[in-house]
């Protein structure tokens, strides 16, 4: 009898302990996702009840050039920016994973930008890119590579790559550490060397196949971290020039909170959600479903 009461008391404790965090996730994750779908079918009004408008927001969206542009820019960020970042990171990771004097210092330096406030990084880089007083143009001019400063962030073709470079700069050290987690036994390389395998043969036959899961984990992390891109774009270009650096989230933000078009923005958000879900799911599958494993090396 006492035993049963004890079990009931523990059961109560379990639910009581789980309740606060579950409530927060319910309130700020699950309810919003559902509510967002409802909103996307409504014309949101500041005062009075919302109107049901069916699919009209979605139809407007697929006819909107800005939407397509921001979708394409988001795709470029994921499928061009991320692979470049991961590529550089693997290269650096190979270097710092060899027994090398001062490698821990290198690791710390490369990682240093990662925790810094993205808004601050955006301000710093906005100024580095400046046409007249920016450091990058100063260096290019000093080397005689250009005569006049390049207006990186005001240029239609260079603005998006410039913002992507900034986000790579921030996340690089993180990817270096992630890809470096998977330790590859030294004897593999020694044997390969004996067999006369060069650097590239070693890279493609040993390193890359062995860290394949990690590569896709980097990809997923890149997606999760992509919210910092909003901060950078908001500060550096605000989506401009024109909509050259508009991404889905900046487009959503403008529609929802500048133009008060909550319903339309909700429709775009739902599309973005499905898109992120798809990319994450595919990467997870491509990683061999081992996404959880790196966890234990950390």
């Amino acid at each position: 009898m006492a035993f049963k009461r004890e079990a009931r008391r523990i059961r109560w404790m379990i639910y009581l302990f789980l309740f606060p965090s579950l409530a927060i996730f319910l309130l700020y994750r699950i309810v919003p996702i559902a509510w967002n779908v409802v909103l996307s079918f409504q014309e949101w009004k500041l005062i009075g009840p919302n109107l049901f408008v069916g699919l009209s927001h979605y139809l407007e969206m697929i006819k909107s050039d800005v939407f397509w542009q921001s979708l394409v820019n988001t795709l470029i960020y994921f499928f061009v920016g991320s692979p470049i970042a991961i590529g550089i990171a693997i290269f650096v990771a190979i270097l710092v994973n060899k027994p090398l004097f001062g490698r821990n210092a290198y690791r710390a330096i490369v990682f240093l930008p990662y925790p810094i406030t993205p808004v601050a990084i955006a301000i710093i880089w906005k100024w580095l890119y400046d046409e007249k007083v920016g450091l990058i143009n100063y260096i290019l001019r000093s080397l005689g590579m250009v005569k006049q400063g390049i207006p990186f962030l005001q240029s239609f073709s260079l603005a998006l790559p410039s913002v992507i470079v900034t986000s790579i700069w921030q996340v690089l050290g993180y990817f270096v550490l992630l890809t470096g987690l998977q330790s590859i036994p030294d004897d593999l390389y020694e044997v390969a060397e004996l067999d006369g395998a060069g650097f590239f043969t070693q890279l493609f036959r040993i390193t890359l196949p062995l860290i394949r899961p990690t590569i896709f984990i980097c990809f997923i992390v890149g997606i999760i971290n992509s919210f910092t891109l909003f901060d950078m774009i908001y500060i550096m270009t605000n989506g401009g020039p024109g909509h050259a650096t508009e991404i889905l989230i900046s487009n959503i933000y403008k529609n929802a909170f500048t133009f008060n078009r909550m319903g339309y923005a909700a429709a775009m958000t739902f599309v973005m959600f499905l898109f992120l879900l798809l990319v994450t799911g595919l990467s997870n599958k491509a990683s061999g479903g081992e996404a959880g494993e790196v966890h234990y090396y950390a």
Binding site: L18, L22, F25, V110, P115, I116, V133, W169, Y234, F273
Partner: protein
């Protein structure tokens, strides 16, 4: 000969990479002390006649202390509630009980919902709760985080069962064990929770941008963005302000490198 070559080339590459990482930050420090490099050509490498007047300007031009207070208060709420709520949830998940699978599934599916896909309803919800322009409203969505719950769970799972049983025989209630046995043995997990949740809260931008419209309630990143739009040309003050915002994060990183890195890496995968 071959060995030598191998040693020099990696160092050369890594030094270049390190310079790319360090130089922008160094330039910010230099400009905040001298303000010179916008006007002097060619710019000097070492700060000449450094002074702290730009930092003092920031202090008087904007309500810096107010922004600082807002950021600190929100971060304290977030960090404390993360440690407490996540430890409680992680502890509860040690037990087996009906509905456990469903609850774990709920947590894991929440990791698939990035915060940015929830901003519109989250804003409306916070408005209905009357929490716009409040510290609590700023903190609420971050007050528990799934990664950190699993960090605690992993740490609690490693605590020997014999300790649990011994305490039970001594008549200790289960909820007390969390605070008397499990938490004191999980210092690393507590550290990870503190560091991760502090960084997320301190750097947060989109959420304050959405729910704050009173000047008095702005956090530091928001203040930075506003400062940029008001005072476009005052570089010395701008970079002094930037440094004042990022200094705590850099200090935490430099003081706890190991824990910091293992913390963010363990956070990586559980999303």
């Amino acid at each position: 000969m071959r060995k030598r070559r191998i040693q020099i080339v990696p160092h050369l590459i890594l030094i270049i990479v390190s310079l790319v990482m360090i130089v922008p930050l160094y330039w910010v420090l230099k400009t905040s002390l001298t303000g010179e490099n916008l006007f002097i050509y060619p710019p000097s490498l070492i700060p000449e006649n450094p002074h702290v007047f730009y930092f003092i300007d920031v202090y008087y031009w904007i309500p810096f202390m107010r922004y600082f207070f807002n950021s600190v208060l929100v971060s304290v709420i977030v960090v404390v509630s993360n440690v407490v709520l996540n430890a409680m949830a992680g502890f509860a998940l040690k037990y087996s009980f009906p509905g456990k699978r469903l609850i774990i599934l709920t947590y894991l599916s929440c990791t698939m919902i990035p915060f940015q896909t929830t901003i519109i309803p989250a804003f409306l919800l916070t408005k209905h709760l009357g929490l716009l322009n409040t510290h609590f409203g700023l903190a609420l969505p971050l007050m528990s985080t799934i990664i950190n719950i699993f960090v605690f769970k992993a740490s609690f799972d490693a605590v020997p069962l014999s300790l649990h049983d011994a305490a039970k025989i001594d008549g200790m209630a289960d909820w007390k064990m969390l605070f008397r046995i499990y938490l004191p043995l999980s210092k690393a997990a507590v550290g990870t929770n503190i560091i991760l949740s502090f960084i997320w809260s301190w750097n947060n931008f989109i959420w304050p941008l959405i729910i704050i419209n009173e000047r008095e309630m702005q956090t530091l990143p928001l203040g930075l963005a506003r400062f940029l739009s008001y005072f476009e040309d005052t570089s010395g003050q701008m970079y002094a302000f930037v440094l004042m915002v990022i200094a705590p994060v850099i200090a935490i990183f430099l003081l706890n490198q190991k824990r910091f890195i293992s913390g963010v890496l363990s956070g990586a995968v559980k999303g």
